[in-house]
Amino acid sequence: MKGANRFLLLFGLALAARTGVCQSPDGGVIYARNCNRCHNYRSPAERSDRDWDVAIGHMRIIANLSGADAQAVLRFLQKKNPTEASSVARLAESRSPALSGEQLVEQHACRACHVIRGTGGTVGPSLDSLFSRRDEQYVREQISSPTLHNPASVMPPHAFAPGEMDRLINYLHSAGK
């Protein structure tokens, strides 16, 4: 019984301790770090936003995600879902003040899946020295329509306001130097 008491105390301490340690999770980062543990990454375009809401509940159980992690992944998948064209969130983003290339990288969670300037995930290829491998036209097409070059790609397509794609491309150019 002493052992059980100690276990309960330690478990409770672990639950309490992580609250002070953890920041609010970035859904893209959680997705990149967890959603490949068992199966391949699933594209946000595979389901509707509402279906993702149900599916993520199932994944919370099977993958033993915390509630916060599961909600963060759900928000990421719904935000990146290109089939939900009526999303007001995307409308608002397109009218936001002009963002720099670096801010666009942060807003679109590019580092969740790609290494940029030495840091990031490994879901996709590193974007450092990108233009030594690909020309600018290919990169623009890949960002706006990833399945154009690879029909099986799980990379979500990204839409930008006028000028944003140019600023992003310029930033990626500088990232490789």
């Binding site: 920041q23 068992c38 391949n40 149900v54 199932h58 992690d69 409308l91 608002a92």
Partner: protein, 431 residues
Amino acid sequence: MKKRVAILAFAVLLFFPAVTRAESELEELKRIVAQQQLMIKELQSTVRELVAAQKQMESTRKAAVPQTEVALPPAAPETAGTQGVSVQQVENIVESLERKVGSKLLLSGYGAASFLRQEHDNSTFEGNFNPIFLYKMDDDLQFTGEIEVQLRDDSADFDLEQAAINYFVHDNITLVAGKFLLPFNQFSERIHPYWINKLPSFAPIYSDEQGNGRPGLIPLLSDAGIQTRGGVELGDEMRMNYALYLVNGPEAVSSDQSQPTPPDLDFGANFSDNNMNKTFGGRLGFQPVADTEIGWSGMGGRYGDGETGFFLWGADGVAKSYGWELRGEYADLRIDSPDFGDEHRDGYYVQVAYRPGLATYASAWPLFARKLELVARVGRAETVDGAFTQWSPGVIYWLKESVPFKLGYEFNSADGELGYDRFLAQLAFGF
């Protein structure tokens, strides 16, 4: 007294993070409300532009063709500058745009079409289908049901693999009741679906029912009972997960009583417990870095007539990086029978997979090459029919990320039928 203090301390520590989490969630809600208010203002601006454009078109049309005067409805209040479009109407537009099409019921699942050829035996085609029904009642309550349909001989066998109600009590605690896959190691609960398992056959520890079947140390584990589980964040990247369960437990497989060995365990057949003893078990998992997990599992109880005890424990691990995957498990089964004495069996497997097309240097490869993945598995298991060692190479072509076409060959070493080699081809799909 000490026990009460410990329980009280645990309760305080348990709910302290919930309170702190509630405060941060309130801040998040405030941010979302502010963002929504910004969106409404943006939409009001858009509506003003559309109304102005419509009026311009109307003026142009009227100038071109004479029209009968039509009385327009009076402008609604609180609409200065919007020409008849109220804040309420804009909010209705926002709400209709935000309304998602779809139901709370999601049909998911997987299936496979397989071809098997075992040494000294006929070859056969097979089909399997596992629909998974997911129903979300609200943010706290979800139902999971899974049916397994297998073509066997001249009929289709149906089995209820899962039927569980899941209650999200807390950020880190989920209560499960019903029939569920037992969280023993990883393969039994998460990896066995055909579109996830990287070889067409099951890992040696687990019995494989394809073709004539191949026994293993244990079958895939599924039972009826109650469970608590969840995940805990230990840092920005580090995670821990746990599961504890109480289930009916295995039955005793009818065996030849003249043999000096205890009856074998039949997991998953005990839908109504046949003895007064339940089985208690659990798993503790640790994720130190991304795409890495190690775990320890254990379960024990009494089965059959309630006099024979068993204890099953296991260890598992997976690590993925730059297209490489290393996965392995070990399982150890001990049986303690007052009539037949002790018995000990164990098994393991190690699997390596490599998908070179995921590496940065392969981004310019042809699409076909980027979809190929190489797999190799070695393992060993002691079954009631004897022990066997296996090494199995394979290759996967990913038609889509959840639709693999797999080829695999098993080189089995053992006495008798356990030692027959097998060739398997499988097209699996997950949805």
